[in-house]
Symmetry: C2
Subunit: 309 residues, 2 copies
């Protein structure tokens, strides 16, 4: 029986609990598990308890981790630091620690700085989610087929890595080992920049004096391109703060590209404009094809369970 | 019996034919209709014929409009000009002319310049579509509940406006009267800029040396934010060329906003960053609510028909 603590019962933490508790202990690499859940927000704990995402609830962090062998910290990035600092107060506790935050370099630095030697750390980031936040949006299938980044460093004990890989496979995801800084540079482009562009679109259009008329005309293209702006604002603020260097590089690339396109528009350069659009169309089609060929990938064919939501 | 010609049998032209032919002639404001379809591409004509979007096909533009009382030009914007010039060769033909292009100022100017007095023109733009193009993606329900812009000018005869409004209502859409230049400024922000941002995202990430690794990590956020880049490249090129002034203004606003956000990131200004994200989240939620309250609006609750696609 593996004792697991989930600290932070939002969308990801609660979905992790659901996925772990619905896995078959006879075939799962983790075997039987017992999950203790903790969140500062009592309402979040009730939600997780109500949907059977946890076996038992804890009223304090100390209670939550007392018997734990695997601690999963699933809070907004800035709160991860606080949790690490609090865990340092239990030096007699021997547990593997992992997290689920969207940025890894800063988190790994905090782990090195704050966690005692008895708590080996492996950074984690499931590449799955949706714009709704909170435990009430949790799904046991959220991670099925998804890539799950793990960012060990050369000093990470093999046993910690093995347990985290087993966790990832138990919830139906695929481990993807990557350096923390590389992770941050990449997800800044394919995840944090998309959020910022969605927010940009909403902000510049809604600050227009004609927003009321524009809102009446906006349809599915605007809806889809603004969807990410509905995401958890605290989490995205923390992502920006803990990954600002990488994000700034992508902002600069975005501005550079827009200036190029503005030039083509001013020159009425039909050939160049179409060449760019055609390239983007082809790259995206190739990307979609490559994704659909990956085993277990269901991002592009949502499961019936997810469609019901 | 109203004789209608549809010139250009892509997604919109073919969907218009389907919507008109499935409307009940006893209750429709247009009454019974007979639709002649024409496209330079013989394959597009066969597709429209095969899905019963048209009653008869024409082999030339002259054949297509010979008996027409309402001519719907549904080609990419630059081709609309060619069609208008060709229609000028039939001065004895008395027919109302409308179009479906995504930009209106330039199209209306071409209509004034090229169409004879016997052919009153009303610019039209259905705010509906999807990223797939071509008649094979057509749907009878595509316009149901959608806003359909009509851009008459002070000299437009009332009868032309009445017929176009009846067309819009017959296909289940809602007429929205708007000045052509205002239309162009607004849709540049809520439709053309979103396409450009989707293309920007694909272009800057795919030109990164690390694109291969990033592509493996990219998930549903990237997919949704790049979806519009899959759209028809010729149509979007023409949209850019016929609406470049408005689009450039939105590009400038985008760059200005990104520079502000870069500044907040450099300053680690958590409060300002979260205030921006919260504002965007609230504006989008209010917009979604306002849309769902509009009668007939189904953009946010796709019909079962559309979900099957």
């Amino acid at each position: 029986m593996l004792h697991i603590s989930i600290i932070g019962l939002g969308l990801i933490g609660t979905s992790l609990g659901l996925a772990l508790r619905t896995a078959d202990p006879r075939t799962s690499r983790l075997g039987a598990v017992r999950i203790t859940g903790y969140d500062q927000d009592r309402h979040a704990v009730s939600t997780a308890r109500g949907c059977l995402a946890i076996d038992q609830e804890a009223h304090t962090l100390a209670d939550a981790v007392r018997e734990s062998q695997l601690i999963i910290v699933s809070t907004p990035p800035q709160v991860v630091r606080t949790i690490f600092a609090q865990l340092a107060a239990f030096p007699s506790l021997a547990a593997i620690v992992t997290d689920t935050a969207s940025t890894k370099g800063q988190i790994c630095a905090w782990a090195r700085e704050l966690l005692p030697q008895t708590m080996p750390f492996v950074g984690g980031h499931p590449m799955a989610g949706k714009e709704q936040s909170g435990g009430q949006a949790a799904e046991a299938d959220l991670f099925r087929g998804a890539v799950y980044c793990l960012t060990p460093d050369p000093g990470t004990p093999q046993v910690a890595l093995d347990v985290c890989a087993a966790l990832v496979e138990t919830i139906g995801a695929r481990p993807y080992y990557i350096d923390a800084d590389e992770h941050d540079a990449y997800v800044a482009g394919i995840s944090h920049l998309p959020f910022l562009l969605a927010t940009t679109l909403v902000e510049i259009t809604s600050h227009s004096p004609a927003w009321k008329e524009m809102a009446a005309l906006a349809a599915s293209g605007f809806r889809d391109m603004s969807r990410l702006a509905a995401g958890d604002t605290v989490m995205h603020r923390d992502i920006c703060l803990t990954n600002h260097r990488a994000l700034i590089r992508w902002i600069n690339d975005t501005i550079g590209f827009l200036l190029e396109m503005r030039h083509h528009l001013e020159q009425h350069d039909a050939e160049r404009i179409q060449a760019v659009f055609t390239h983007a169309q082809e790259v995206r089609a190739a990307w979609l094809t490559s994704r659909s060929q990956q085993p277990g990938e269901d991002v592009f064919e949502p499961s019936p369970y997810r469609q019901k939501k």
